[in-house]
Every structure is written in C-alpha cells, then in structure tokens.
Subunit: 202 residues, 2 copies
C-alpha cells in the first residue's frame, strides 16, 4: 500500500539514492522539507540544479571547481614541484586542513576496484603523467586510502611513474592514529608502524 | 577556509538543515549528487518543488494529501465512528501497517512541548472537537508517543473531551515490545505493563 502521496513518494525515491540514506531517513527528510517555508524549498531545489550546472573538474588536477582551473592550481604561491595524489575531494580537504601541505594535488576520482571492473583507465591518471612530463615535478606523494583497493591503485600508478628517473615517489606514513589506543589496531598496521618507526631524539 | 565551491557549499547548507543530516553526511550527499547524471538531478530538484506545491493537509483529519480530502477520509468503507489521534503521518503509517485498524484518524501535527512554547493552540485540535460534535463519533483512541510530551498532550486533550459524555476515550496499551528482552525496559514501563496485564486463558 502507498502510505504517502505520489509527490512525497517521488522525493523519497530520489533522496534514498543518496549515500547512507535509507527509506526511513528519506521519509523523515521529505516530511521535514514539507514543513519548511516555500522560499527555503525553492532555493534548496535551485541550489541542487545550480551546483550540478556550475561544478566541473579542474582541467589540471581534477579537483571540483566552478572555473576551468581550481583555486589551488591557480594559486601562484603554492609549490608546483610537489603533487599529492588523492582519490577524491575529501583527500584534498584532509590535507588542506593540516595547513602544512602547500603543494599541488592530483585527484584520481576513485580507486582501481577489480571486482567492480574499475581499472586505471577509468581514473584521472593520463593527465597526471602529462603533468609530470611537462612541468617540473620533483615529488609525488600518495595520500590515498590504506585499503586493498588503495594499495593496488598505488602499485599500478607507481609502475607508470617508474620511467621518470629523477622523480621522488613517497606515500603518507602508516601507523596508529594519534590519540587512539594501540589495542584497536590489527597486526598489519602494527607491522607497518614498526617498520616505519622513528628514532626518538633525547 | 572554504574547501568546496560556493555552489556545493550552498547545497551542503540546505541538506544539513534536514533531520539527522550533519555537515559530513550533507557533504557526501552533495558530492554524490554531482556524480549523478543531469536528468536525475533536474528531476530530483523538480520533485522537491512539486511535492511542496502539491501537498496539503486534509481538511478533515490533517493527514497529508494532494487533494482537499485525504484517501482515508474519503474512503466510504472505513468506520467513521472511531478516530485514532496521532501526532504525525508516521502514526498513520504505523496503524495502517497493522491492517487491522479500519477507523479514521486525526493528525495533531505535533505534541504540546512547554519548554519550546508549543501549546495545544498550535496543534490541530479544534477541528477534532468539531468533528466529534458534528459526526457520530463513538470512540477516540490516543496513539501518540509514550513520552512526557505525549502524555501531557493526551491529558490536555482528554480534558477537552470530557464534555462528550457518551464518548469512549482509550489509548494504546503500554508494555514490553514483542520480541524484546524484558531487561531493556525501565521501571515505569514495567509498572504500566503490570497494571495492564491480561489474564491468560488456559
């Protein structure tokens, strides 16, 4: 049986396609939208269309932008010789929040996922190669998820980068997150944390 | 610092006004919308405006409907002599799912919440009184949240209903939910479950 009106059901249908939104949350959201005033609802709907229309991938790094070139790529003060390879815009946000990283980015727009048929060809990789060929890139830093998909993606890309003899290739360190108890982490994390241990100066 | 474009930030702003949606979920949702194809996004936005424009409260019971009178109030087969008082459309859905309740509804559109300044005057109550006055209503059943706000709302409305001498006033039973362990419920629930105990026929 159909408990809601058709137009409510339609909104529930669309909302429940969004990540982490089940039918129940979508229903609550739809009913909340109904309570809001007309102006809010119209502006909300317009903002969605506007975002979709105006947002593109930066021609250089693949970041999201409203212009041809994103804010970071067009910032003359940043270090053009270093590129952090991230899987999506969340990677950029994480590194920008450190306020320490001042290099450039390259957004892969995903990871290699063999079980879903996603290969390196589906990712934003060829433009990375041509950036390194044309610009004076000295180091690329992998800053992607430390999962099987992430490590596989890293291995494939490292293979393509081997031909650049003077290029330094690095990756973010593995280990125990700050402020976390050691007991919560698996042995692989521990092996890596041990291998990457740093001598304490005293 | 602004990590996203203005148009993405705008969508995040609107989405994060929805229930249970924090800034992080709103961001993930906005970025997911960006990945969807143009047609989906336009239809999604249109569905929101359409829902807002076409959905009204039923003139009789306060249920949500696209017509003047909702499907339930206009269903001649239902028992007009019984009205279940619910706080919102979720109450209707819960009772409809039982497939046993065949009476009418009256949607309060909220509960009395003194700390938020919400009084009985803010709820859909006066039309309930006139329904009882004009129609041949024999019983009203309170089917609202068993919280302090819910019980307070019940008490206030019962006070208004006292003048209808022949009206039967009932409320859904309190007790331990089916399939749940008794140890998870508080003493007030137990007191009520004890008071409302039913003799077992054997």
């Amino acid at each position: 049986m159909n408990y809601y009106t058709n137009s409510i059901d339609e909104v529930i249908h669309y909302l429940s396609k969004l990540p982490t939104i089940g039918r129940k949350s979508a229903t609550k959201m739809a009913l909340k939208i109904l309570e809001m005033d007309d102006e809010f609802v119209v502006n909300f709907a317009k903002s969605i269309i506007n975002m979709k229309k105006n947002t593109h991938h930066c021609k250089i790094c693949g970041n999201l932008t409203e212009n041809e070139i994103c804010n970071i790529c067009s910032d003359e003060k940043r270090d053009k010789s270093t590129i952090a390879i991230v899987e999506d815009i969340f990677g950029i946000v994480s590194l920008e929040k450190t306020k320490i990283y001042r290099g450039m980015y390259h957004v892969l727009n995903g990871l290699v996922v063999p079980r879903d048929g996603i290969t390196l060809d589906d990712l934003n990789v060829s433009s990375l190669i041509s950036r390194i060929e044309k610009e004076n890139v000295k180091e690329v830093i992998f800053a992607i998820s430390q999962t099987i998909d992430g490590e596989l993606t890293e291995l494939y890309i490292i293979d393509l980068l081997k031909k650049f003899k003077d290029l330094k290739i690095s990756k973010i360190a593995n280990g125990i997150p700050i402020g976390r108890s050691v007991e919560n982490y698996d042995e692989l994390t521990f092996i890596r944390a041990l291998e990457d241990r740093k001598e304490v100066e005293y």
